[in-house]
């Protein structure tokens, strides 16, 4: 064993450099990544809370988010917009927390008054997320996720390209997933059946371009499964 324990100068410098480098790495690379994951998990949780109230089963929002991200990325949107679309997909129904249970689970047709309350969820949801800084970008997509291509949707009756792209994607993804899963008011459909219905509504409810990409995506998925 050497008698001289260590050269304290070089050890000191080395430790100082390592600490500084580790801090820089952590603050600028590791931490943002970790926080982004944490936020996404938080949004899944909030989505789960809405679903507990809405349909009672958890998972719808997650699937819609997966569809929406797949469609959006094949349409070639930027990375940041992709993130916004994913967040909006998870939170689009958050306004439903203010819609009574009785209405959400009603099996019969809704009265006009009930429709007004039901329709308020997109406005309210947009309001709710706009209070949170890192979610404020999603407010626009959430506000318009029930607009139709021909202008017959709500709340503002936008038509065609006036509707934000993200909202157009959300509309089709939501409808598809609602059709193929069980709800209080209907039984789950087969994917082919649901796609047929969507095809009939192209140009009426859905953007033709988005619908085409979506149909291709679902077809590819079902083929892969088969």
């Amino acid at each position: 064993m050497p008698d001289n324990l260590l050269n304290i100068q070089s050890v000191g410098l080395g430790i100082a450099a390592i600490i500084a480098a580790a801090c820089i790495y952590f603050s600028y690379f590791a931490l943002p990544k970790q926080m982004e994951r944490a936020y996404k998990d938080a949004l899944y949780t909030l989505a789960a809370a809405v679903e507990t109230k809405d349909s009672g089963t958890i998972g719808h929002a997650r699937r819609v988010a997966d569809y929406a991200v797949a469609v959006a990325s094949s349409l070639g949107v930027s990375k940041n917009e992709l993130r916004i679309i994913e967040y909006a997909a998870l939170l689009r129904d958050i306004g439903k927390v203010n819609v009574p249970h009785a209405l959400l689970n009603k099996t019969g047709p809704l009265t006009d008054e009930e429709w007004i309350i039901m329709k308020s969820h997109s406005t309210l949801g947009a309001e709710m997320v706009s209070t949170v800084p890192f979610l404020a970008d999603t407010a626009d997509l959430i506000l318009h996720h029930h607009e139709n291509w021909d202008g017959s949707g709500y709340p503002e009756g936008l038509r065609g390209e006036e509707i934000p792209l993200g909202s157009r994607i959300l509309a089709i993804a939501t409808d598809y997933d609602a059709m193929v899963s069980n709800r209080p008011y209907h039984q789950a459909m087969q994917p082919e059946q649901a796609l047929e219905i969507i095809k009939n509504d192209i140009g009426i409810k859905y953007d033709p371009k988005v619908a085409e990409v979506f149909l291709n995506f679902i077809n590819g998925k079902t083929q892969k499964a088969a």
Partner: protein, 521 residues
């Protein structure tokens, strides 16, 4: 019976006198020339440390890491210089902090004690710097000047005394002053000769610190109604020691090696070494702050949205906030780990989130519920746990939410048996806070009828079934709230059956001492 304030003043006087006497005795015993020039860089560094406390992970306290600097001074130049550095650096730091606090107050930044998270200071770097320099002086600058002086003298002298006495012990037990020759010849055989005395001195230092500050807090906690008594002092003191000792020992054990390191670097490179070490220090400090900042924003996001979701009943917001506050205080009272205390606030806000899965008709029903309806209500803690399950950073609170309606004797719901019927203490805390607030909630104390939706209050004593203004149906009939004593009585009666006895005991003690609302008085 002595006035608590008087006791406190006397105590400070005694401490100051002791410190001065100890200084004189030390000097007579072992006169040493004070080398101001050598002390200056240490004073500057220690003052800088004093002004830039490091935010700990528990987010409650910022801790000044002055300790290694002072001990480096002790190791290099002896205990007298070390004590001098301690006093001088604290005075210097306060000389900078005091005007900063006045300035910050003038610029209107004082309402934000934790200034790092305020968007206002983030946009104004100068203001941010000033508020940071002001540190714990924010708010204190409004005291009478004589009081500020006494406080400063007390703090400084206590500090000087601790460093001085512990440093003196270091010399007594044969600790040598570090110099270049000693460090160059550092070997396994000479190491115990240096570390041994330092270890003894460290124990003395921790003991002094803990004993002294516990005494300080114990006197502060003297109850106003009953006045000072040695019995209650001893009780409070023991509590303080139990609380401070582990934290202090841990912190100092962690920091102790740095004082050696600092001393060694200084003896080789002189003051320049401080500059080299300051860069990683501030980098690390910044990273800690950033992490805490991010985490706080994250928790805020979840609780904000989570609370918004529970807003079907307009009264809920106040209830949730009070439950959160009470749970947090109660956890602190029970001396739970800081991280738990912090998470208790979130758990308090989110404990009823499962109720979004219960239909409003059932929640609102004023007549007797059927058994099925009860089952649905009883499912809300499990639903809440199901919702919160996927949060990796908050996964601890899932069980707290799930079992907040489980009784201490195994009754209550849900019916599964966690840990053989041992309900988590955190869940028991939420249960007590929740029950207490529900019993005492005075939302209807002064007003007999108020609309849940628009807040409308009719002028005469009518109690309509629907709101005359916004036509919303009356959702809920309120019962009269209990008084504080009645509610505590109810908690006591349920202690051991419905509520955890320790939690009830701590709750009663806490309410007795601090009142129900902290801000109210």
């Amino acid at each position: 019976m002595q006035n608590a304030r008087q006791v406190f003043a006397n105590y400070r006087r005694i401490c100051n006198a002791t410190a001065i006497a100890a200084g004189i005795i030390c000097y007579l015993f072992d006169p040493q020339p004070l080398r101001l020039k050598d002390a200056l860089p240490f004073i500057a560094l220690a003052a800088a440390m004093e002004l830039s406390p490091v935010l700990l992970r528990d987010a409650y306290s910022e801790v000044a890491v002055t300790f290694p600097v002072l001990w480096a001074a002790v190791l290099l130049a002896g205990y007298q210089t070390g004590a001098f550095v301690a006093g001088a650096s604290l005075l210097t730091a306060n000389l900078i902090a005091f005007p900063s606090a006045v300035l910050a107050a003038k610029w209107g930044a004082l309402s934000v004690p934790n200034s790092w998270s305020s968007s206002r200071t983030r946009r104004r770097p100068l203001l941010s710097l000033v508020t940071r320099l002001a540190g714990n002086w924010t708010g204190r600058h409004e005291y009478p000047f004589s009081y500020v002086l006494t406080l400063l003298a007390y703090n400084t002298l206590a500090y000087v005394m601790h460093v001085g006495i512990a440093g003196f012990v270091y010399t007594l037990v044969g600790g040598k002053l570090l110099n270049k020759q000693l460090i160059d010849n550092l070997s396994w055989s000479t190491l115990p000769g240096i570390l041994g005395p330092f270890f003894v001195a460290l124990i003395v230092y921790v003991g002094l610190d803990v004993a002294h500050y516990s005494a300080h807090d114990a006197i502060l906690n003297v109850r106003k109604e009953t006045g000072f008594s040695w019995r209650s002092f001893a009780l409070n003191w023991r509590m303080g020691v139990r609380q401070y000792l582990p934290v202090t020992a841990r912190n100092y054990a962690f920091l102790a090696p740095f004082s050696f390191f600092l001393a060694a670097m200084y003896s080789l490179w002189g003051p320049f070494s401080f500059l080299v070490l300051l860069i990683p220090f501030y980098a690390a400090k910044n990273t800690l702050r950033l992490t805490m900042d991010q985490w706080r924003t994250y928790r805020d996001t979840i609780t904000t949205l989570g609370t918004l979701m529970q807003h079907y009943h307009p009264y809920t917001r106040g209830h949730l906030r009070r439950v959160a506050e009470l749970s947090e205080r109660l956890a602190r009272e029970l001396q739970m780990p800081p991280r738990t205390v912090m998470l208790m606030a979130d758990a308090g806000m989110l404990h009823d989130i499962g109720k979004v899965g219960v239909s409003e008709e059932i929640l609102d029903k004023t007549e007797q519920l059927s058994e099925e309806e009860w089952d649905i209500i009883r499912s809300h803690p499990v639903k809440g746990a199901e919702i919160l399950r996927h949060l990796p950073l908050l996964d601890q609170i899932v069980d707290w939410v799930k079992y907040h309606h489980k009784w201490a004797n195994g009754l209550g719901y849900p019916e599964d048996n966690i840990n053989n019927g041992e309900v988590p203490l955190e869940a028991a805390i939420i249960a007590v806070a929740d029950a207490f607030d529900a019993m005492t909630d005075d939302r209807e104390n002064s007003i007999d009828w108020r609309c849940d939706s628009c807040g409308f209050v009719p002028e005469n004593d009518e109690r309509p079934d629907e709101c005359p203004k916004c036509k919303a149906p009356k959702r809920r009939l309120y019962r009269k709230p209990l008084s504080l004593d009645q509610a505590i009585d109810q908690l006591r009666r349920g202690s051991g059956t419905q509520f955890h006895p320790d939690v009830v005991q701590a709750f009663v003690t806490m309410i007795d001492r601090d009142g129900v609302r902290l801000n109210a008085g």
